[in-house]
Each structure stands twice: as structure tokens, then as C-alpha cells.
């Protein structure tokens, strides 16, 4: 019996989801299903040839080096204790205001996320840095954990973002432009989170008490500690924007710079350096496994013409492009209940991307939109990876409490998503002016 390509495609997806739910690593499941399906339709020999060709081409592609390089930069910066310094600096400036510690957390999360590029790492770090401080001043548990969970999501938007880099690789978009496209939406996110805190203070003035005011000397001293890493970030992203470096070079310069700064400022011990190198290696290996799997699965999608068929189906519904976009985003929000951001992007973007381009949406803008949507999954129930991370650090808090604290920020995120869809220029203005 010979199965039609449609049947093979559907069977492939069913098997893929089953394997993933059985905890087979996402990349391995995608690779296995992709190669098996491809070999069923074209023969085993060409399928097996693809395996070595694709994996070797992926791991030796200089462009893809952007991922380990920025991971290494983030790891060096994390190990240098920058998170604590950023929080201290922000706290000296706004800590004396009602809700000021929350605002300081958001600002410091933004600064830290911008350098380290990882949402989960940001949430984990600030659970130890900002949470005890907020609790010391009597901030409720729900707010304290909620603001950290939300602040952590800034990691995927502000450059350099690992998720945006992976999106760029899969869709063959300019990674540099994607990084730059995240700047204004990232700043918008920070501003809107700060506004949310201000609204909470207005509605319930006694909820978030003011902290101690700092003297100007203390402020100057705190700012002196953070100028170097912020300058490095500005140099790396500025160089990328100005066309001085390719994204991979920017990552390498960032990693080298973070290492030198850490050593010169005596913030990096030999053990820290070793840990940072190991951390970057582990994460890079995990991301590359998924990338190789996704590329192998991509051949299967191509031969079964799944993206084209889905495009025909969705555009044939006669809904109009914004309704199709809404459907796609609802699907992402639903998927966010099942899997993490990276897995979602890698699994779905190869199928969805042709639909988006055929509807005339800008691919760079869509990258920002899609990353923002999957980031919502990091804080909404039942999976909410950031929530799990915070829970693993702050033991005496329940999931329900954290999710309660996150609600105002989820509403803010939905509002921000609407703004970005209504005004795409927010995301595409800067990339359009790149050198």
C-alpha cells in the first residue's frame, strides 16, 4: 500500500508529537521523523545522505556561530555579577518611589537581559537578586515574583536574543536586522511594565511601599559600577547596527570584551571562566541539536508540500490577513501551554513562515511578533517556564501566587502585541535604516 503525501505528512506530525510527549529530545524527534518520512517518499539513500550533509553544514556554518558567541558573552557577564550591580544602580535612582523596587527590577532585568539574551537566566538571576530586597520592604509575594517573571521575558526581545537568532537562521533572515528590530519593542516593553507598576501603585497606594532614598554620592558610585558592561553592550549592538561587524563577529567581540572586562575588574575567577565556558557549550549543543533536527524536518515538509498546502488553506478561507494572523497567534498562545519558546519556534516557523510572507507581512516584523507571542508562554499557565524557574529558586511561594502576580503583566503584553501589530513601524524602523 502506498500512502499519499498528505497521509504521510499527517502521520509524520502525529508521530512527532507523540515522540515529543514521550520526552524524546525535540531535535532528535524532528530529525527522526523528517528523515524517515523523506526516505519513505524518496528512498533511504538520498535521505541518509541528507543527514550527514545537513548536520555538518549546520555545525560548520560561520553564521550560526552567533549563537555560542552571544551565549558566551552572556555567561561571562552573568558570572561577573552584573545583575546585582544593575539592580543596585536602578534602585539608587528609583527605589525611594512607591513601587520603585519593582521599577528597579524591570530596568535591571532589561539591562541584564540585553546583555545575556536569555529570559530564563534573567528570571533565575533576579529571583536571587531582587526578590529578597522587595520582600524586605514588604512587597507582596505575588507582585515580587510576578514582576521578575515578566522582567525575565525581556531577554527574548532585547538584543542579542537567542530565539530571534534561531528564527533568523530558520527563515534565512538577516540576524543583525532581527536583533536591531527588537530594540524599540524591547524598550516599549520595559516602559509598559513600568507604567503597569505605576498604575498598580495608583490603584492600591499601600501595596508597594517606598524604599530608602539614596544620596547622590551613592547613586554616582552605583552607576560607576555598571558603565563598563553597558558600554560593551552599546559597542556590540552599535557595531552591528553600523555595519562594523557581522552578527557572529559582534558575538565574538562581545564575548572577548566581557571576558576582558570581567578579568580587569576582578569579577571573573578561574572557576567563573570555566563555568561560563561550560554553560555556553551546554546551551549551544542543545540549541544546535534542535536546529539540525529542524532542518532535516524541513526537507520532509518541503517534499510533502505542507507549508504550501497550509498557505492555500488559510488564504482560501477568505478571512483577511489580520484574521489569519490572529488565528496563528492564538495557536502559538495555545502551544505555549505545551512547550517552551525555542521548541515552538523551531517546530512551527518553517510551516507558518510561507503563510506570513504570502500574506504580505514583513518577515523581520513577524520575527518580533512571534517571539513576543511565544514569550507570553513563558509566563502564562500551565507551563510558564519563568514561573517554574522562580519557583525553583524561591521555595516558599506557590505557583498560584506567582501566576496571580503575573496577570497584570500578561494584560500589558497583550496590549503591547496589539500596538505592535497596529504599528509595524515600531519594529521595522531601525532595521530599515541599518548600514
Amino acid at each position: 500500500m502506498v500512502l499519499s503525501t498528505n497521509t504521510v505528512a499527517i502521520t509524520g506530525f502525529v508521530v512527532l508529537f507523540a515522540l515529543m510527549l514521550l520526552r524524546v529530545p525535540v531535535g532528535m524527534a524532528m530529525g527522526l521523523v523528517g528523515v524517515t518520512g523523506y526516505s519513505y517518499l524518496t528512498g533511504a539513500e538520498p535521505a541518509l545522505k541528507l543527514v550527514a550533509l545537513t548536520s555538518m553544514r549546520t555545525v560548520t556554518d560561520y553564521t550560526f556561530g552567533v549563537i555560542p558567541m552571544f551565549l558566551l558573552m552572556g555567561a561571562f557577564v552573568s558570572k561577573s555579577g552584573v545583575s546585582r550591580e544593575l539592580f543596585r544602580a536602578a534602585n539608587t535612582l528609583v527605589g525611594h518611589l512607591k513601587g520603585g523596587l519593582g521599577i528597579a527590577t524591570i530596568v535591571a532585568c532589561g539591562g541584564f537581559a540585553a546583555i545575556c539574551g536569555s529570559s530564563v537566566a534573567t528570571a533565575a538571576t533576579f529571583s536571587t537578586v531582587a526578590y529578597p530586597e522587595m520582600r524586605r520592604y514588604g512587597y507582596p509575594q505575588a507582585f515580587s515574583t510576578g514582576v521578575i517573571a515578566a522582567g525575565g521575558t525581556l531577554g527574548a526581545m532585547l538584543p542579542p536574543s537567542t530565539v530571534l537568532a534561531v528564527y533568523g537562521i530558520i527563515t534565512q533572515q538577516d540576524i543583525g536586522k532581527l536583533f536591531i528590530a527588537g530594540i524599540i519593542p524591547g524598550i516599549l516593553a520595559m516602559s509598559m511594565y513600568v507604567t503597569t507598576i505605576a498604575v498598580i501603585v495608583m490603584v492600591r497606594p499601600g501595596l508597594l511601599p517606598a524604599g530608602t532614598a539614596s544620596s547622590w554620592t551613592e547613586r554616582r558610585q552605583a552607576l560607576r559600577d555598571v558603565w563598563a558592561p553597558l558600554l560593551l553592550f552599546a559597542f556590540v549592538i552599535g557595531g552591528l547596527y553600523g555595519g562594523l561587524f557581522t552578527p557572529t563577529e559582534a558575538g565574538g567581540v562581545g564575548a572577548g570584551g566581557a571576558f576582558i572586562l570581567g578579568v580587569l575588574r576582578r569579577r571573573l575567577t578561574r572557576g567563573d571562566i570555566r563555568e561560563a565556558l561550560l554553560q555556553a557549550t551546554r546551551t549551544a549543543a542543545a540549541v544546535f541539536t534542535v536546529l539540525i533536527g529542524a532542518l532535516l524536518f524541513g526537507y520532509f515538509l518541503t517534499i510533502t508540500q505542507t507549508p504550501q498546502k497550509l498557505t492555500e488553506f488559510l488564504t482560501g478561507l477568505g478571512l483577511g490577513r489580520y484574521w489569519v494572523l490572529t488565528l496563528i497567534m492564538l495557536m502559538y498562545i495555545a502551544l505555549g501551554c505545551l512547550m517552551d519558546a525555542m521548541a515552538m519556534i523551531i517546530l512551527t516557523v518553517p510551516i507558518i513562515f510561507p503563510v506570513i510572507t504570502s500574506l504580505g507581512f514583513d518577515p523581520i516584523w513577524f520575527g518580533v511578533i512571534i517571539v513576543m507571542t511565544v514569550e507570553l508562554g513563558l509566563i502564562h499557565p500551565p507551563v510558564g517556564m519563568n514561573v517554574f524557574v522562580i519557583k525553583s529558586v524561591v521555595k516558599n511561594v506557590s505557583f498560584t501566587t506567582i501566576f496571580k502576580g503575573v496577570i497584570p503583566f500578561v494584560i500589558t503584553d497583550l496590549l503591547r502585541l496589539t500596538i505592535l501589530i497596529s504599528f509595524p513601524i515600531i519594529a521595522i524602523y531601525l532595521p530599515g535604516r541599518m548600514g
Binding site: 531535535g27 532528535m28 524527534a29 555538518m56 558567541m69 527574548a156 565574538g252 564575548a255 570584551g257 525555542m342
Partner: protein, 174 residues
């Protein structure tokens, strides 16, 4: 050898593999950093800096995958696993590791062909005309070690689950 010794022996093997991969990350970063500095300040470039960078990247990823596979730190969907009891979790871990072993073994076999064909085609680097196949061979050895380590992990999961270490946190996928 008692369990504690076995575990500490395995840990040192894995740590060495991971450390080797981590060293390559450092070398690639240094290669890129120095290349950029030399280009902008002295208008010179490291011969084959580009090729070394990408070939070392390949090596570090395959060696990194070996350690990641043994430690069980790949990106996974933990929804069902997280909701299950210890027996179900163990069964799922064994199944997932067997699939992993199969996939990586097939990959290693196909990669061997790639190393051979690169050798036969006599592919060389751009500037120094160094043969590329030794780099591929080192990467392939990383893949072979992945097969060995996953086989050990599978054996441990089935017969000595107490020897299998817990997950190490990675921040992939965020």
C-alpha cells in the same frame, strides 16, 4: 567497583569531554575577537581565521552534544513526564534514550561517510590549504563518543538508575 566510584569515574569522563568542548568555545571566541581587532587596527587577518572558526565550531558542537546527551540536558517537552510518577518517568526516560541512541548511531554512521568523502575529495582550507578532513574526523570522534555515552546512559537507566545524574540546567530555548 562500587556505585560511588563508578559514578565518579563517569563524571570525570564526561567532565573531560565537556571541558574539551568548552575549550573550543573559548578558542572560537578568541579567534573571532582577535580577527576583528587585527582587521580594524592593523588591516591584517589571521590566515584561515574564518575556516578555523567554523571548523572548530563544528567540533565543539558535536563534542558538546555528546556531553549533553549523557547528561540528559537536551531541549524536551516535559509536560507528560512532569505529571507522571517515578515508574512512568523512568520508562519514558528509557524509551527516549533508546530513540536517542538509535538516531545518534545512524548519524554517526552517515557522518563517517562524510569524513571519508571529504578526505577523498581532498578539500582544503582557503588560505593555508590545510586538509579539512582531520577537523571533520575530530568532530566525528565527538559523535562516536556520543554513541558510547548514550549507550552507557541507557544501560544505567535500565540496570542502575541510581547512577544516572540529575538534569543540569541549560537556558536554551528562552
Amino acid at each position: 567497583m562500587d556505585d560511588k566510584l563508578k559514578r565518579s569515574f563517569m563524571d570525570s569522563v564526561i567532565n573531560s569531554i565537556e571541558w574539551l568542548a568548552a575549550l573550543f568555545v573559548g578558542i572560537v571566541a578568541a579567534d573571532i575577537f582577535i580577527s576583528v581587532l587585527l582587521r580594524y587596527f592593523f588591516a591584517v587577518q589571521i590566515p584561515d581565521g574564518y575556516d578555523f572558526g567554523r571548523l572548530l565550531l563544528g567540533i565543539l558542537i558535536f563534542w558538546g552534544i555528546a556531553a549533553t546527551s549523557y547528561r540528559g540536558t537536551h531541549i524536551t517537552v516535559d509536560l507528560v513526564w512532569g505529571a507522571g510518577g517515578p515508574r512512568m518517568r523512568r520508562a519514558m526516560d528509557i524509551f527516549a534514550t533508546l530513540v536517542l541512541l538509535f538516531v545518534v548511531t545512524v548519524h554517526t554512521a552517515t557522518l563517517y561517510d562524510k569524513v571519508r568523502s571529504t578526505y577523498a575529495e581532498n578539500l582544503v582550507t582557503y588560505d593555508l590549504k590545510l586538509p579539512i578532513w582531520p577537523f571533520f574526523a575530530v568532530a566525528w570522534i565527538g559523535d562516536v563518543s556520543a554513541v558510547v555515552l548514550i549507550a552507557i546512559r541507557t544501560y544505567q537507566l535500565i540496570f542502575s538508575p541510581e547512577l544516572v545524574g540529575g538534569r543540569h540546567e541549560t537556558d536554551a530555548g528562552k
